[in-house]
């Protein structure tokens, strides 16, 4: 697929999935990113389903780039981060917008990391980079497989460092991942994307 080198199109789409321990891991990872960047970040994090989430506000105060709770049919812009809403799946559309559903839970999760990863892979193929962080269930492993099958890359937080190992281990067990590293390494890898482009 051809890339539009304009300011409204992201260079890479970085999709992140996490669950148990995810808030601390994200804080550490995001705090190490050099902003502004030309990729876009979309994050699914499992949260309590009936509580309004304040994560986007919390992260936005910590980092020098925009962090937004994903709105339905919102255009994904480079340099921004979008975060899931409890009790809604978060999906990527082919036109580069985000969408939501209340379809059944996947892996007992809504939002599900698999749903984000699979739709991102379908929409943007080899422009997708998935990052699997700490988490206490296997959500994300199947989606990571789709991403690789469609030419994207899969990076996993080193299970030794992760607060909950199940999610990273499930992905490592399912596919030959492109990188296993601690949060420092993952941040460095994202920062290096900017040099290559």
């Amino acid at each position: 697929m051809l890339m539009n080198p304009d300011k409204t199109t992201f260079s890479k789409l970085v999709v992140i999935g996490t669950s148990w321990g995810g808030i601390d891991a994200l804080k550490a990872l995001l705090g190490r990113l050099n902003a502004p960047f030309t990729f876009a970040l979309v994050v699914v994090i499992h949260q309590e389903r009936h509580k309004k989430s304040h994560l986007s506000t919390i992260f936005a105060r910590m980092v020098p780039f925009p962090v937004l709770e994903a709105e339905d049919k919102q255009q994904i812009l480079p340099g921004n981060m979008y975060i899931s809403t409890p009790n809604y799946h978060l999906l990527v559309e082919q036109d580069g917008t985000l969408s939501h559903t209340i379809d059944s839970a996947v892996n007992f999760c809504r939002p599900s990391v698999d749903v984000l990863f699979q739709t991102a892979a379908d929409a943007f193929g080899d422009r997708v980079i998935a990052i699997v962080l700490t988490g206490a269930n296997q959500d994300g492993a199947e989606g990571a497989k789709w991403i690789q099958q469609r030419g994207g890359k899969v990076y996993v937080q080193d299970p030794k460092e992760a607060e909950a190992k199940v999610m990273p281990l499930a992905t490592i067990a399912k596919i030959d991942v492109d990188l296993i590293g601690n949060l420092d390494t993952l941040a460095l890898t994202l920062n290096n994307l900017e040099r290559k482009t």
């Binding site: 009936h50 709105e71 339905d72 049919k73 082919q94 559903t101 379809d103 749903v115 739709t119």
Partner: protein
């Protein structure tokens, strides 16, 4: 930029065109990512290998098409989904409804009916149930049949009871149910003013003069263009001063006539039609 990204994308578009031509159901304005997922699940269920095979068969097999509608449009719902939303309706909307001698309410996309009965319970506690008529509609006949019966598995009952309390209703959810062995049945008193009927937001027309329209977590399944069209339909169906209530992830942002509405509670997506000019 080619119109279709790849062959699979082309197959989906062709399938939707054929379904529209043959059966008159129009899915062409649905958001693609989730629709594609549900179509692939349907292929698995039916043990059909490829979309072109489905396309061939769905033209010739009415029963297959009925199952397609049932599976592809099915929405998941629950009693008092987002309890704080119901608390907000109680706080912001009920007082005005009390000023009308008769209230017409349209619940669009009611699925299996849990939220329709949630609203009916709220109206009952406010003394409004007897002068209200609720038109509960959905595109999917099989979920409407279930909504009409008002029989629900008791597996989520404790969650629903919690939601009921969090929404600020008095007493206990079970006051409105008859308890069966592994299910509950909605009290017939709640059901008597509800009219369940098939309606497709995409192709069907305006639905009378309503004082309140509920359409929650339906618009997220539509593209911006279709959202604009459907909200236009609601706007035509809504009395001046009437209320439109959407899901937490839905907004009027893509609606041309945004200026006709005032947000009563923006966080909970409650809007009032306060002007007839867009």
């Amino acid at each position: 930029m080619p119109k279709y990204q790849n062959d699979e994308d082309y197959d989906i578009h062709a399938l939707l065109e054929v379904i529209y031509l043959k059966w008159g159901y129009d899915f062409r304005g649905y958001s693609k990512a989730s629709l594609t997922r549900r179509i692939f699940f349907f292929l698995q269920e039916e043990r059909i290998d490829r979309i072109p095979d489905l396309q061939y068969r769905i033209v010739r097999d009415r029963a297959l098409f009925s199952r397609f509608i049932k599976d592809v449009t099915v929405n998941v719902t629950e009693m008092f989904r987002d309890p704080s939303f119901y608390a907000s309706v109680k706080q912001h909307i009920i007082a005005q409804l009390k000023t009308y001698p008769h209230i017409k309410i349209w619940h669009a996309g009611c699925a299996t009916g849990e939220e329709v009965y949630s609203l009916a319970m709220l109206l009952d506690q406010e003394g409004l149930l007897d002068r209200a008529t609720i038109y509960a509609t959905d595109i999917n006949r099989s979920v409407l049949d279930r909504a009409k019966k008002g029989i629900y598995s008791d597996s989520h009952l404790s969650q629903y009871q919690q939601n009921y309390r969090d929404a600020g209703l008095k007493g206990d959810l079970l006051d409105y149910f008859e308890k069966g062995y592994d299910h509950v049945i909605v009290d017939s008193r709640l059901r008597k003013n509800i009219v369940f009927t098939e309606h497709d937001l995409v192709i069907d027309h305006v639905f009378g003069e309503m004082q309140l329209i509920f359409c929650r977590n339906v618009l997220i399944y539509f593209t911006r263009a279709l959202q604009d069209k459907v909200i236009g339909l609601f706007t035509e169906s809504l009395d001046f001063g009437g209320y439109l209530c959407l899901g937490i992830k839905e907004s009027l942002d893509f609606f041309n006539g945004r200026a006709m509405y005032t947000a009563v509670d923006a966080d909970h997506r409650l809007f009032q039609k306060t002007s007839t000019k867009g």
